[in-house]
């Protein structure tokens, strides 16, 4: 249960950073926190009390003793995609800084069209 609660808390902190913070890097950190929280949530959904990792070995050959592999596989994808999204965001931030000389989103107002 604590896993759920802390995952939700992490998500909440992330959303808070996303809205309240004015600094672009803080905003990206907020995004990253949301992603981490969601990954934690998904993996903890798949957890089953008293079962082991879904990897067969010479000791563990019984499939009924394993936790759910599907959330883990999904989270694997999610982490990689999160990292690539982050790299892209970081590149944007650096470019914005080059152009405007600031990280404060209140001063970067060219999103209007």
């Amino acid at each position: 249960m604590i896993f759920y609660i802390s995952a939700l808390l992490i998500i909440g902190i992330g959303i808070y950073a996303l809205i309240i913070k004015k600094n672009l890097i803080k905003i990206i950190i907020g995004l990253d926190l949301i992603e981490t929280g969601i990954n934690l949530l998904i993996v903890s959904i798949g957890y089953v009390n008293g079962k082991t990792a879904p990897i067969f070995s010479k000791d563990v050959m019984n499939a009924s003793l394993m936790v759910d592999p599907v959330p883990q596989a999904l989270t694997l994808t999610s982490i990689v995609i999160g990292a690539s999204e982050l790299a892209l965001a970081a590149a944007f931030v650096v470019l914005l800084y080059r152009k405007y000389g600031t990280l404060d989103i209140r001063k970067i107002r060219s999103l209007r069209w």
Binding site: I20, I45, P54, I55, T77, E85, A91, L95
Partner: protein
């Protein structure tokens, strides 16, 4: 301040909604549905010991191809973004100390080796192409941090990356032509716990590992190059 409180309430509402939703799924209780099928059938169908790998690569291989594509697009995006802007500002990175330099020399080959080990044993032990590739990229990151003058040969990295991606697609197409569906298993499953088992997973993960490693290294190179990429940026 009022703003913060209002948004705090909003966040609480959102989290409460997720929490109410989650209350349907008790923690630690077995709620497997598809998972059961994968657990029961992984060994006979794929011959891989790591069920997570078999799910990512065998049952949901098409997904992973998409994931690789996303990664590729992100690397491309970073490269494009960097070479679009003018690289005027030069900023010297701090000179690293002696211990880092020597330590990097010692550790770097082992990092590469470990990375390769991880992605080659993806179907047997925890890990796989993404993790191994990331580890390899970390090795290059270390190299960058330790040695000011490091600059990877982008052409070769692009080649490796392309070959890795091509492996994936070609194996998929082989499945399409030989078995009638994209990414069908065309290789024998082998015996469990052997390195050469798991059908197409081993070659795919080797391809993915190489691809991810070179891609993330490229991203790092893009991000690190302020001083160094004058020549790389010049050819653009």
């Amino acid at each position: 301040m009022i703003r913060k409180i209002v948004y705090g309430v909003f966040i609480l509402i959102i989290i409460a909604a997720i929490a109410i939703f989650m209350s349907n799924y008790k923690f630690g209780v077995d709620k497997m549905d598809v998972g059961k099928y994968y657990l029961d059938n992984t060994v006979p169908q794929t011959g891989a010991a790591n069920v997570v790998t078999s799910v990512t690569l065998f049952y949901r291989g098409f997904d992973t191809l998409g994931e690789v594509t996303v990664l590729f697009t992100a690397a491309l995006g970073v490269a494009v973004l960097y070479f679009m802007g003018e690289n005027k500002r030069k900023q010297k990175l701090q000179e690293s100390n002696f211990v880092t330099k020597i330590g990097t020399r010692v550790v770097f080959p082992f990092i590469l080796l470990t990375g390769a080990y991880i992605f080659m044993h993806g179907h047997l032990t925890p890990g796989g192409g993404f993790q191994g590739g990331a580890l390899i990229a970390t090795g290059f990151l270390l190299l960058y941090l330790a040695y000011e003058e490091t600059s990877i040969d982008r052409k070769k990295f692009y080649l490796v990356e392309g070959l890795g991606g091509l492996t994936y697609v070609i194996i998929g197409l082989l499945g399409f032509f030989m078995k009638g569906s994209f990414l069908a298993n065309v290789l024998p499953n082998g015996t469990l716990f052997d390195l050469l088992s798991g059908g197409i997973m081993l070659p795919i993960y080797i391809g993915v590992g190489l691809k991810v490693g070179s891609e993330l290294s490229n991203i790092i190179d893009d991000l690190m190059c302020e001083v160094k990429c004058e020549e790389a940026g010049g050819e653009e």
